[in-house]
Amino acid sequence: MAGMVQTTVRSKLSLTGLNMTFGHGNEVVDVLENIDLEVREGEFICLLGPSGCGKSTLLNIVGGFLKPSSGEVVIDGEPVRGPDPRRIFVFQERGVFPWLTVEGNIGFGLFRLSRQEKARRIAHYVELVGLQGFERAYPHELSGGMKQRVEVARALAVNPDMLFLDEPFGALDSITRLEMRRELLRIWRAERKTILFVTHDIEESVQLADRVVVMSTRPARIRNIMEINIPHPRDISSRRYLDLRDSIFEQIGLAHKI
């Protein structure tokens, strides 16, 4: 189709009519119901929903680790058939390999590269996530936030075009969590990946995402998709931010008074 002008931003990921049930016979649990979603290249999407609603299941399906009961997952025009190094899943910080050093973890996926290229890549990502001086340290010698950085760096090092993050900062203390969000946004701007980020934290989703996909309780359906059109860095005491946050609170049916 040479010469044709592309007028819209390319669709990176599209989910159509996705359903997921677990179990057999009488003990069937519906987890996902009729999920449709289009994600543009380079977009930062938050999947927001209560714990146990099925948003992690959705991420695992998109990542190729689970097959949906019905429906289709298409990335770059190709149906997803399994995990793929072009799209890396980031777990909570427990996903770092405890038997490898920081260097070893970051270089884990670089087995196809020459030694020099591998060393160069590792050095670059050690610096990007601010772990200089800890290259030879083992995960048990690092804090939770540092382990999370290692995992993000390990994912980025193979130069994927998508990142799937499953409540990555859930196990961190609130101060570290704020720092990690800022870091992630900085990295996202520098590397321009398409990001799918699962969270149950409303504030987190409004701080990070271009669009927040608000999901219902189980079986998870898409309740609403909120466009967060606030430029970064976002002022989290601005009227606009608070309005968007509060409208999500209302959609989920929570009064924000304790």
Partner: protein, 253 residues
């Protein structure tokens, strides 16, 4: 426990036991069972005749070869059996029947196949160490967190690469526990094997000292040496836990 107690109390217990032993021999007027001083004389006698070093070396050599072969075969076997459920189901009946058979029950078969040779003893040690290693490795594979395996697959690893780069290191702490158990068993079995299947080594020393003139001071000396060497082997293999890439499996900071 205070620092001085940590050394003094075990020392006192040992001295008390030696005294009890010494006086028991004297009180019972036994002419066969040796006193501690006789055993000490036995150790010196073995040492000066050069038997001590030769027998210890023979025993360690047999354990080294039999146990070494069990490690080299057992770990890959355990990885495959742990990874492929069909392989485990297929071999399960055989494993479950062979496992409870004491390695000592294999002595006649081993002598039949290999004669009174080093190979007979080595085979027994190999057999005795193989099962704990295979079972511990399988257990380690089953216990490897799914998250690590998923991460490995995500980076595009082939199955052999996944087994060697993710499943094996994830299972390694449990494998090492199996290696430690197997080494203990191997050291138990070498003594028994040497009593029957060969004519050198610490097991042979014991049985030969008894048969050739009831020299019980040498029997007890041999026993103590077996104990000390066994302790050294166990202490040695425990050092593995201190490697930095393994600490996560043994210490929880």
């Amino acid at each position: 426990m205070k620092r001085w107690e940590a050394y003094t109390l075990p020392l006192l217990a040992t001295v008390a036991l030696l005294l009890l032993w010494h006086w028991s021999v004297i009180w019972t007027h036994t002419s066969v069972f040796p006193r501690p001083v006789d055993v000490q004389r036995g150790v010196i006698e073995l040492f000066s005749k050069g038997l001590l070093w030769g027998y210890t070396r023979d025993s360690l050599y047999r354990v080294g070869v039999g146990y070494g072969a069990a490690v080299l075969l057992g770990i890959p076997m355990g990885l495959v059996l742990g990874w492929y459920p069909t392989a485990a189901q297929t071999t399960n009946p055989v494993i479950q029947i062979l496992r409870p058979i004491s390695p000592l029950a294999w002595i006649p078969v081993s002598v039949l196949w290999f004669g009174v040779t080093d190979a007979a003893a080595i085979f027994l040690i190999f057999l005795a160490s193989l099962f704990p290693i295979v079972l511990a490795t399988m257990d380690g594979v089953h216990g490897a967190p799914g998250m690590f395996v998923d991460a490995g697959r995500n980076f595009g690893l082939s199955t052999p690469a996944l087994l060697s780069r993710v499943v094996f290191p994830a299972a390694l702490p449990r494998i090492i526990i199996g290696l430690r158990i197997a080494l203990g068993v191997a050291w138990l079995v070498v003594v028994a094997a040497e009593m029957i299947a060969v004519d050198s080594g610490l097991g042979y020393l014991i049985i030969d000292s008894r048969n050739a003139g009831k020299r019980y001071h040498l029997v007890i000396a041999g026993m103590l040496l077996i104990g000390v060497i066994g302790l050294c082997l166990d202490t040695g293999i425990r050092q593995l836990e201190k490697f930095k890439f393994l600490r996560w499996g043994f210490y929880h900071e």
